[in-house]
């Protein structure tokens, strides 16, 4: 499979997260693609029955792995650094112990706890009904989870803040999918890049939750975001 661009992978991830109806297998495929893990995915059996059994086994394994991470036991050295062929690899990328050809920039900014919970939920959807109780469908939103966003453009003019040598700028992010505004602080001196050079932004919180650590008036502190000139997954 030809490698996907960062924008394509971002769109796949947004779609997977937004689409409540996506079945567990498709959701797994989407995440594997979004995290550049598609090449390592297992080939599923052609026979329907075997296929279901394989998907279930994978879900059980993924769930056990994610629960182990959340409980403090964690991955072993192989799971931490080697390709696993399933969402365990995605989780290892959020943990940060997996590597990519270029600098790895995981979509949730390293929020492995959220990813582990997503994986457990997806496994529950796959494994199915337990004690007759259906697993609730996904209730995720990209702007509540993703921390690496493409920048559409800078809106308006920079605003000078009372803090010395600091401006506030407004990035329009999302490029069509889930567009939103974010306000960030930027230093007016000694900056390597003009903010117009940035094509992606990495945030300390997903856009919808930025209100926890910033307000629109002053914007997100300079040390809680960074800009990328080039696409994630390429040489930085």
């Amino acid at each position: 499979m030809p490698s996907l661009s960062a924008s394509e992978r971002f769109s796949i991830l947004c779609e997977a997260i937004s689409n409540k109806k996506q079945d567990a297998g498709t959701f797994r495929e989407s995440l594997m693609k979004a995290y550049n893990c598609w090449d390592e995915s297992r080939v599923l059996p052609l026979v329907e029955e075997d296929r279901e059994s394989s998907l279930r086994e994978t879900a059980v394994r993924e769930k056990e792995f994610a629960e182990r991470c959340l409980s403090g036991i964690g991955p072993d050295e192989n799971e931490a650094v080697l390709a696993q062929g399933d969402l365990c690899s995605v989780l290892a990328k959020e943990i940060g112990t997996r590597r990519e050809t270029h600098k790895m920039i995981p979509w949730l900014g390293g929020d492995w706890v959220s990813m582990a919970r997503i994986i457990i939920h997806n496994a529950d959807l796959q494994i199915g009904v337990a004690d007759g109780e259906a697993t609730p469908e996904r209730e995720y939103r990209p702007d509540h989870l993703i921390r690496v966003w493409p920048i559409e453009h800078i809106a308006g003019q920079p605003k000078s803040l009372p803090m010395q040598r600091t401006n506030r700028i407004n990035f329009k992010i999302g490029k069509g999918a889930h567009p939103t505004d974010i306000f960030v602080q930027i230093s007016t001196v000694n900056q390597k890049y003009d903010p117009h050079d940035f094509s992606w932004v990495i945030l300390a919180e997903p856009p919808a939750l930025l209100g926890k650590i910033a307000d629109q008036e002053t914007g997100l502190a300079k040390n809680l975001w960074s800009g990328l000139v080039r696409d994630p997954g390429t040489e930085q």
Partner: protein, 650 residues
């Protein structure tokens, strides 16, 4: 109550350390003294008590919040002080924390009210909340500062104080004094074997919790004419008296500190002490050191350990009161509600690379190895102490947060950069998430450094946390900012990943030529897999990361898992490089296997590079984590272990 600098005034008020007069009235002396201490960046053992009796409060919340307030003042006032502040029409260009200048200035020429009024005026509204709280709970601090004209005059007056002290600061030399290499010095003091014993472990914990406060106290008691500008984490910044030879001052100070360390509690020993200085004009600078001084007899070492253990017992109440005081800071909704009590564990938090972050050593390897103190430029020393005060605030408030939200059963150790607590294992995730959120808030408010991985967080169920430096190093390399962009603050370190530490340092750096790790940068296996931890054998066949065409073997499909080869049978593994080419073949790797037989009949088979480690693994299975106690039996225990040497050919 939330752990933030805005809570300081309310917290102090709640301590009821003084009955304040109804305003308007001059402030009580106790109130002024407390706020002076706070604005001067509270010392290591500073605390406020309702009954006026000073106790060495463990992690006193007033001190922690006071330091947070100072660091916030630094963040939002420093640019003004450097670029805009004027006195008598001249720019001051102040480039050090305000608290240092307050420590230098005579108490008669400034009041806390002056400082707060000045900070409020020039911080662009960023300190308004804190100062509003001070005004609410301690209104008399602003006595005669309510009229605009009074405020103006106070600001002008304080501007002159700044100008005078800043000028004097430039005329006096800085001396950096420290009690470095804590762990190594302790080992040197008690010896490697004795160090591992339980009472020595406890003694070290006591030493780690008390050394910084004692060191600061000895510096403050010095009569050499130096001003203590800041202390923390075993580092003290002294401002030498004007007109005296810096080297002589430094030697005198260090000898005096050593003398008093020897006398302190009749202990008869003093740690390694360093002093260094370098003026702007002096290119070479200078240093002076006094080595560890102690009587090395066994009886004396036993006495040192016994005395510290006694102190540890005595300080039990202090450690407990720390927990009590932080209980006020439970705040917000806890998402974590699954507290259980069936999995006792040790939860460990440790700052990642604190020493290197605050005190980077720019010397070459030979100079570092010499053991001499680094001689930092005046600017580097200032920058180091500024970094130290900021990160210290983050560390202490994080420990406070853990106390407030998780109430550890026992605090086993709490040094400058780490804390070990007995807790239920089910608390671990809550600790990770709470620390993460806290650090994020601190970065948004008081801590101006770039977001980075700050903390190691580890949970060890039923075991002790000791030697895991190698694991840390490997995970640190893996998650280094050069390879991964992570926007989080806590780096989980799982004991389950122990094998990563044994995989050889070359592996962690991502080199595909690693001798033992067997995987390249991208997680593709390049050498034979190591045995997994007991009871957690991965399903090798279910690992598509290792494409079949890259994995040729002679001797049947069962050796896919490497088991046959690892068992030393005749089958040989042959591996191809990720691109199908032969990279590093013909190499024979020697491993040692632990041959412990599990209850289900399976063999542990965990592999090690050295025989001793495999034997220790077997002993842990046989006698548990404390198998090495009593120490006299170690040799016999290891001799019983069943291990196997295997050679893997590539």
């Amino acid at each position: 109550m939330k752990i933030e600098s805005q809570s300081l005034a309310a917290y102090l008020f709640g301590l009821s350390f003084v009955q304040q007069a109804t305003p308007p009235a001059p402030p009580e002396k106790e109130v002024v003294d407390v706020w002076r201490d706070i604005l001067r960046y509270p010392g290591e053992s500073w605390s406020v008590s309702a009954d006026g009796v000073h106790r060495d409060g463990v992690l006193d919340p007033a001190r922690v919040l006071g330091r947070m307030f100072c660091v916030k003042i630094d963040r939002y006032l420093s640019t003004y002080l450097d670029k805009n502040a004027k006195s008598d029409g001249a720019y001051l260009g102040v480039r050090v924390p305000l608290s240092w200048l307050l420590r230098m200035a005579d108490e008669e020429i400034w009041t806390p009210g002056d400082v707060l009024t000045y900070a409020e005026k020039y911080s662009g509204g960023t300190l308004d909340e804190e100062i509003r709280e001070v005004r609410k709970f301690f209104p008399n601090l602003f006595y005669e500062l309510t009229e605009e004209s009074q405020r103006k005059s106070s600001i002008e007056r304080f501007g002159k104080v700044l100008a005078k002290t800043w000028e004097e600061f430039g005329e006096r030399e800085l001396i950096h004094v420290s009690a470095p290499k804590f762990h190594k010095q302790w080992t040197k003091l008690v010896g490697e074997d004795r160090e591992a014993e339980d009472d020595a472990v406890k003694a070290k914990q006591q030493w780690s919790m008390s050394v910084d406060g004692q060191f600061e106290k000895l510096c403050l008691e010095s009569r050499g004419g130096c001003t203590v500008l800041q202390s923390g984490g075993g580092h003290v910044l002294l401002l030498a008296p004007k007109g005296e030879e810096t080297e002589e001052v430094a030697k005198k100070e260090l000898r005096s500190i050593q003398r008093r360390f020897l006398k302190l509690d009749d202990r008869g020993w003093s740690p390694l002490l360093w002093a260094s200085w370098k003026s702007d004009e002096d290119k070479t600078g200078g240093y002076f050191d006094l080595g560890l001084k102690s009587k090395s007899s066994k009886a004396n070492i036993d006495k040192v350990i016994f005395d510290l253990c006694e102190k540890y017992k005595e300080s039990e109440r202090g450690r407990y009161s720390g927990k009590e005081r932080w209980a006020f800071f439970k705040y917000g909704k806890e998402t974590f509600t699954g507290r259980r009590t069936d999995k006792p564990s040790i939860i460990y938090l440790d700052v990642i690379g604190l020493g290197k972050h605050c005190w980077p050593d720019k010397r070459n390897e030979i100079d570092i190895e010499s053991g001499n103190p680094p001689s930092r430029s005046r600017k580097d020393a200032i920058d180091g102490f500024v970094r130290s005060r900021k990160i210290t605030t983050v560390i202490e408030s994080t420990f406070g947060l853990v106390f407030a939200k998780h109430l550890p059963e026992r605090v086993l150790a709490m040094g400058g950069d780490e804390i070990q607590m007995e807790m239920d294992a089910s608390e671990w995730l809550g600790v990770v998430e709470n620390v993460e959120e806290h650090c994020k808030e601190l970065h948004a408010t008081i801590f101006d450094e770039e977001a980075r991985l700050l903390w190691w967080a580890m949970c060890s169920e039923g075991g002790q946390i000791r030697d895991f430096q190698n694991l840390k190093e490997e995970v640190r390399k893996r998650t280094d900012g050069k390879h991964v962009a992570l926007m989080r603050f806590v780096n989980p370190m799982w004991t389950n990943m122990g094998g990563l530490a044994g995989s050889g340092s070359s592996n962690g750096s991502g080199s595909s030529n690693g001798s033992g790790g067997g995987m390249d940068d991208l997680g593709r296996r390049t050498t034979a897999p190591k045995s997994p931890p007991p009871g957690n054998e991965p399903d090798w066949e279910a690992m598509p990361a290792l494409p079949d065409e890259l994995f040729e073997e002679e001797g049947g499909p069962e050796s896919m898992a490497g088991v046959e080869s690892l068992d030393g049978s005749s089958s040989r593994l042959t591996l191809s490089g990720p691109d199908g080419g032969d990279e590093k073949f013909g190499v024979t790797e020697v491993r040692w296997l632990c041959r412990w037989k599990n209850q289900d009949g399976s063999i542990c088979n965990k592999s090690y590079e050295v025989e001793n480690d495999a034997r220790k693994c077997w002993c842990r299975h046989m006698w548990g984590n404390k198998w090495h106690e009593p120490r006299e039996g170690i040799r016999e225990a290891k001799a019983q272990a069943i291990v196997k040497k295997v050679e893997i050919e590539f």
